[in-house]
């Protein structure tokens, strides 16, 4: 059981981080369809950095420190890539959905191209040494297992990001103004707020978090990166919509969707299910659990989308000169 909970964190945390990335962008007024592409870029540069440090420089560094630096690299890469979205959406006021899609395609091909060029392979391998193995609080075996013995730095970072986001939007000037820019930018402008600046902030923060989230997705779940995050960026969008653009609800939504994604990987480890599998060998359980997260996404969105209330001005380009 602890195993399953621990595994689900590996899926929930990146979903949470990337959904929050989408939150910053959309709350400030820019629809970010490119979360998928930014994740890919972030994961690529992060894994490349780790690979470089481990295999080339062969540095002897504390793995947590290495991971932290790699996460920063991913974040910065994400910022760079998302500035393409910012340019298109904020400066050129072009269609954000098309632009976001373009960036997704760009990321996919860019990453394969660079991968082949730099490591002569489409996969970049790294040594999986980042798991926390601490005996802290071992008196409570469950807590110890999930949070300290099979955890990753990314789990803590994810939770910190969540808490910070809640605080920012509830209590700070920055949060209030950012929200205003996504709800009614004309009102914000006439109140003296520089809408363009805040929208850029929203997009760039979004890029940082999505890039970081990309690496956070790869590290706990595999030993290589091969250029895709399997639609995670879009699942994060669904999480954002399901969470109605509120950080605390987004967290719950991330747990919900992350759970199904986890199931698709660990289903055979659950005694009840493996029992069914032996009893009914002809039912395609593997296929079922594989498509389950995507199907659940569709069903949940179908139920909740009618009353959906996105930030009012999100997706609408802002023209500072049109009073």
């Amino acid at each position: 059981m602890s195993f399953i909970i621990a595994q689900s964190f590996y899926f929930i945390i990146p979903l949470l981080i990337v959904a929050i990335a989408g939150l910053f962008s959309e709350k400030s007024g820019t629809v970010n369809i490119a979360l998928e592409g930014i994740m890919v870029i972030g994961a690529f540069f992060g894994v490349l950095f780790i690979h470089f440090m481990q295999a080339v420089v062969k540095i002897n560094m504390n793995p947590q420190l290495l991971l932290f630096l790699a996460l920063m690299v991913s974040g910065v890469a994400g910022v760079g890539f998302s500035s393409l979205l910012g340019f298109l959406a904020i400066k050129m006021r072009a269609d954000q959905t098309i632009g976001g899609t373009a960036l997704n395609l760009l990321a996919a091909s860019l990453v394969v191209y660079l991968s082949k060029a730099i490591v002569k392979d489409t996969r970049i391998y790294f040594s999986a040494v980042f798991e926390f193995k601490s005996n802290f609080l071992s008196q409570i075996p469950f807590i110890n297992y999930v949070f300290f013995n099979h955890a990753y730095l990314t789990t803590y970072i994810g939770i910190i990001i969540l808490i910070a986001t809640v605080l920012i939007f509830k209590y700070t000037r920055f949060g209030l103004r950012l929200s205003a820019c996504g709800e009614h930018p004309q009102a914000a402008q006439s109140a003296g707020i520089n809408v363009i600046k805040y929208r850029w902030a929203g997009v760039l923060i979004s890029g940082f978090l999505a890039g970081l989230g990309g690496l956070a997705y790869v590290i706990p779940t595999s030993i290589s990166f091969e250029g895709t995050v399997a639609g995670y960026g879009f699942l994060a969008l669904a999480v954002l919509i399901f969470g109605q653009w509120r950080p605390s609800r987004v967290f719950l939504a991330a747990i919900f969707f992350g759970f199904f994604k986890t199931l698709s990987v660990v289903y055979f480890g659950i005694d009840a299910i493996s029992g069914w599998m032996t009893t009914y060998p002809n039912i395609p359980f593997a296929l079922f659990f594989r498509i389950l997260p995507y199907v659940v996404t569709l069903i949940v969105l179908a139920i909740t989308s009618k009353k959906s209330r996105a930030p009012k001005a999100s997706g609408i380009p802002f023209d500072p000169l049109a009073g």
Partner: protein, 404 residues
């Protein structure tokens, strides 16, 4: 004769200031920027071979080792699925819907056509048309699903499209890898076996004109559908209604159009087109009648996504889509020749993605350029519209509302 010349020049002058002209220049601009980037990447990667590399990039389809003529044949053969996915995305765009799920519809069409093509032994000479039609209908169903989610439940169409892409892929690979495996899959290669002879698209003499290029009747079908779609969109009441939903959803509703029905039908037709594209791929006899196979790798087929830049470059106009598809396939065919020079073939995909990025705002750039030119010539504005209504400052004009 002079009269004809005068008519031609006035038509040309009219065209020059029309929206259509602006759109074409915008597309050409995006293409130019994309190719420029490709050239830069070639120069950066390996400046030594760059001269040859750039020429191979620009020669595109003509790079064919068996000669330029066969290259054209190969171009026309390979472009067929792209024309259909381009039409699939473009048709949906006309109704204001972004059909990012074209890949899923394409895959479904391919899959069902393969089933009929491999297992439909007793259909005789009808095997091909039935396989084709079945593929189209499968795609239509898959597209309609997205449409239903949008029209009835207001689910964001991009998300439903992507979800259905994944669901479709996993379902198809799951079934092919599961109970269909013994009938349809070549275990060693992990690919589907080729379809029966009776299910293959006829060459229709095109293999005599372009020998060993793989070109078959599919290209004729593609051209036929371009004309058909153009006709439906521009000459029929049905097409007019779909377009009105894309231009102004509320006004269309007010005028009596049932927009839910419009969205679902539009997505069904788009899915049908993509499905036909997938079906034509798997049913193609290909070079020397070797046939085509579908790989069970868990990868979403790129043909569907290629439809997006094609639709945008062609400004969602059927004829534009055709030429845009030709261009995209043309560039793609420089992939292998570039690879043999030591440049990764992904350069081509990169270029296409960059072109898509620029096409998102190429129109705005070209509007900006026209504005600059107007300022220079100090054009006095037409007073005939002055009527005392309040005139707001210029807002960037959107030609289509995209429904999410």
């Amino acid at each position: 004769m002079d009269n004809f010349k005068v008519k031609l020049t006035t038509k040309w002058n009219e065209f020059k200031v029309s929206q259509g002209f602006k759109n074409i220049t915008a597309s050409l601009l995006a293409i130019l920027l994309g190719i420029l980037l490709g050239i830069i990447i070639i120069l950066i990667t390996n400046i030594g071979n760059s001269g040859l590399g750039i020429s191979r990039l620009l020669l595109g389809a003509f790079n064919n080792p068996r000669g330029a003529w066969i290259g054209i044949g190969q171009l026309l053969y390979r472009v067929t699925p792209l024309v259909f996915t381009g039409l699939a995305v473009a048709f949906a765009f006309k109704t204001g819907v972004f059909n990012i799920g074209a890949s899923g519809q394409y895959t479904m069409g391919l899959f069902v056509a393969a089933i009929v093509g491999i297992l439909g032994d007793n259909l005789g000479f009808m095997q091909w048309p039935i396989a084709l039609l079945a593929g189209g209908l499968a795609g239509a169903l898959w597209g309609a699903l997205s449409g239903v989610f949008k029209a009835l439940f207001n689910v964001n169409i991009v998300i439903s499209g992507i979800m259905l892409n994944y669901i479709g892929m996993f379902l198809v690979n799951g079934m092919l890898g599961g109970f269909l495996r013994p009938y349809m899959v070549d275990g060693a290669q992990n690919r589907t076996i080729t379809v029966d002879q009776a299910a293959r698209t006829p060459y229709a003499l095109l293999d005599k004109i372009f020998p060993n290029s793989g070109l078959d009747f599919g290209i004729i079908l593609a051209i036929g559908f371009v004309v058909l779609i153009w006709f439906v969109l521009n000459k029929t009441v049905f097409g007019r209604e779909l377009k009105s939903v894309g231009m102004n959803r509320d006004a269309a509703k007010y005028a009596g159009v049932n927009e839910k029905r419009a969205i679902i039908l539009s997505m069904a037709i788009a899915g049908f087109l993509a499905g036909i594209g997938g079906a034509l791929f798997i049913l193609a006899p290909s070079i020397r009648n070797l046939g085509n196979q579908y790989s069970l790798e868990n990868v979403i087929l790129g043909a569907g996504f290629d439809g997006i830049p094609i639709a945008l470059l062609g400004n969602s106009h059927p004829v534009g889509v055709f030429f845009a598809a030709l261009f995209v396939q043309y560039i793609k065919l420089s992939g292998d020749p570039l690879q043999s020079l030591g440049y990764a073939s992904e350069i081509v995909n990169l270029i296409i993605a960059v072109i898509l990025y620029f096409s998102a705002f190429a129109l705005i750039i070209s509007q900006y350029v026209t504005k600059l030119r107007k300022k220079k010539n100090n054009q006095v504005n037409d007073d005939s519209n002055k009527d005392n209504g309040v005139v707001p400052p210029e807002k960037p004009s959107k030609t289509e509302e995209v429904i999410l």
